[in-house]
């Protein structure tokens, strides 16, 4: 059946071409990897990233390919990219203060700076982005503004995720007020709250 073989090859070729990459961006410790794990667990049954209270746990771009996501009767296949947190400062002493040896902390700091550079490079290669903000913190930071500005300049669709709504002091309405031009979805990646609303938005943008 040579035609069937050719058909399958063509199908694979074009389905690869249609890969849709969704980058998870944000400042350090906003819950990007917790969200990546939640999405991955919900749709593939597997986690994809390590999570830690110590900043810069994700120091390289972590990919989960061909994640099939369904919402509103529509199915999309995405490549999920968990990005290192973007920041303008890295101090190894932050890690030693959390019990790490100086040597280990210096290695982690070096890897963290490289991770930030890698995440920034990817800004022009994603098809859409989830920009994760900690709903307990002031959203109007330069890192958030610069990430959004660069995505907007490239006309890359953005969904802002106001994370950690399970915490009492969270104020997702402050995120909405800061960036009224964008879709803002309040969620708790940790507790799995309101994830369906996020999936509906992802499917809309894919």
């Amino acid at each position: 059946m040579p035609f069937l073989g050719l058909f399958n090859w063509l199908k694979r070729f074009f389905s690869n071409k249609k890969k849709f990459s969704l980058g998870i961006y944000g400042n350090v410790n906003t819950g990007k990897s917790t969200l990546a794990n939640r999405i991955s667990m919900d749709w593939t049954g597997e986690e994809m990233s390590a999570v830690s209270e110590i900043p810069h746990e994700t120091r390289e771009v972590i990919k989960k390919e061909r994640v099939k996501l369904k919402a509103d009767g529509k199915e999309v296949t995405i490549n999920l990219l968990d990005m290192p947190g973007i920041t303008t400062k890295v101090d190894y002493r932050e890690f030693t203060s959390r019990g790490m040896t100086a040597k280990k902390a210096q290695v982690r700091a070096k890897e963290a700076t490289k991770g930030v550079i890698e995440a920034i490079k990817w800004l022009e290669h994603v098809d859409a982005a989830l920009v994760v903000m900690d709903a307990c913190e002031d959203p109007y930071t330069q890192v958030n503004i610069t990430i959004l500005g660069n995505l907007e300049a490239r006309k890359i669709p953005v969904i802002i995720v106001a994370n950690k709504i399970d915490k009492k002091k969270s104020k997702p309405e402050r995120v909405k007020a800061a960036f009224p031009q964008h879709t803002v979805v309040p969620i708790s990646a940790l507790k799995g709250e309101n994830l369906n609303a996020l999936y509906e938005e992802i499917v809309k943008h894919a």
């Binding site: 550079i117 330069q142 500005g149």
Partner: protein, 118 residues
Amino acid sequence: MVNIEFLSANALNQMDAEKKLSTIIAAVKNNKILVLEEGLSREEERELFTRTMKEINKTRGFTGIEIVSMGEEVDDVRAAFIKMLGGKTKGFTIVGPEKLVKEVKRDPQKIGFATSGK
């Protein structure tokens, strides 16, 4: 003592992006706070983040920057016309060493840059 330097829009316009970023990094590494009369573009800010990370790796004791910009960069016909007439359409940017700047506060109307006096 806090050392603050002001870079005029005129001076900035005579620099290409590379020169602008090197000037900022050099000033910040010398513990200075820089006020740029004309804000950086989105791409320049992005490049400044990258350069800062490379500099942290290269320079012992340098831990990064604090940066805050005010006023959006607008790329429309009106902005082009204002520029043609010699007007200014960009906001301004303040950059300082992370070690020196204790707190940055901003809202759409005002910004605050508090130093630690280290």
